[in-house]
Subunit: 157 residues, 2 copies
């Protein structure tokens, strides 16, 4: 098990794109979407993972991840995952930290979210000028929530 400490932000502008490398395309399906436990299948290219996340706080989650055979993941995705999403993930090294920027497809477009993994909840980090409002404590921006309630259907925000 690992403890994942993560803060999440909206983007203020598109200046991050100039710093980003080639993105990876991720397909994710959810077998369970609850605050205390989310169970996710993730496919990137020809590799796949099954990931279980528990809740510690809005910032910290316990995480168990296992690589699984791609055909298993495809079958799970098709037959067992009521909720799915697709996104492109860009990575940006910025003053000693790696920002992961997720650009959502389909029903969750045009949402873009930046994630920052930290060594502890209070770790200081330099904020790039393109980083917008923090949404760490807003459960609506979790992938699990988005898979169930796509961003394009929120209306109004």
């Amino acid at each position: 098990m690992t403890i994942e400490i993560e803060r999440r932000f909206l983007l203020k502008n598109n200046n991050w794109r100039a710093l980003a490398g080639e993105p990876e395309t991720m397909r994710q399906g959810y077998l369970s979407v609850e605050k205390e436990r989310t169970i996710r299948v993730r496919i990137i290219g020809n590799r796949a993972w099954l990931t279980l996340k528990g809740y510690i706080s809005d910032v910290a989650r316990s995480e168990f991840e296992y690589e699984i055979p791609l055909p298993h993941a495809e079958t799970m995705m098709q037959t067992m995952c009521p909720f799915k999403l697709e996104k492109r993930r860009y990575k940006i090294d910025y003053r000693g930290f790696v920002f992961e920027i997720d650009e959502y497809f389909g029903e969750n477009a045009p949402l873009i979210v930046a994630e920052l993994e930290l060594p502890n909840e209070d770790a200081a980090f330099a904020k790039p000028e393109w980083l917008g409002e923090e949404i760490t404590s807003d459960g609506k921006f979790t992938n699990a929530y988005l898979s169930k309630h796509p961003y394009s259907e929120w209306g109004g925000r």
Copy 2:
């Protein structure tokens, strides 16, 4: 993925005990208990597995099983599984088929259920005289349901 075809029965009497070998003790926790998908952690001795089951019919279920490190399973069991149960499993070879007999502990005592895995839904098999009522289509006798609604609380059956 495997397809598990299984019929389940109550026991008519205790004559099966004379045929049974040493049982294994199993602890099971459930991360998700839905008809279309159950997600189970199972611990036997110092080994553990994460198992996902999908629904095909009352008799047939798709199954994905992965062995996981015991400490992961213990942490999942303690922090992520709202529903748990414990049972002793006996195996009996009977005329070419293996009956697995589960004797439940704790809140699910004194329930005993026999399971028979079959090569297909219509496979013929010899019924031992100790085999009772078939409960394959009765969702109440699934481990997932029992973990949530223990047998001792049913009252009246």
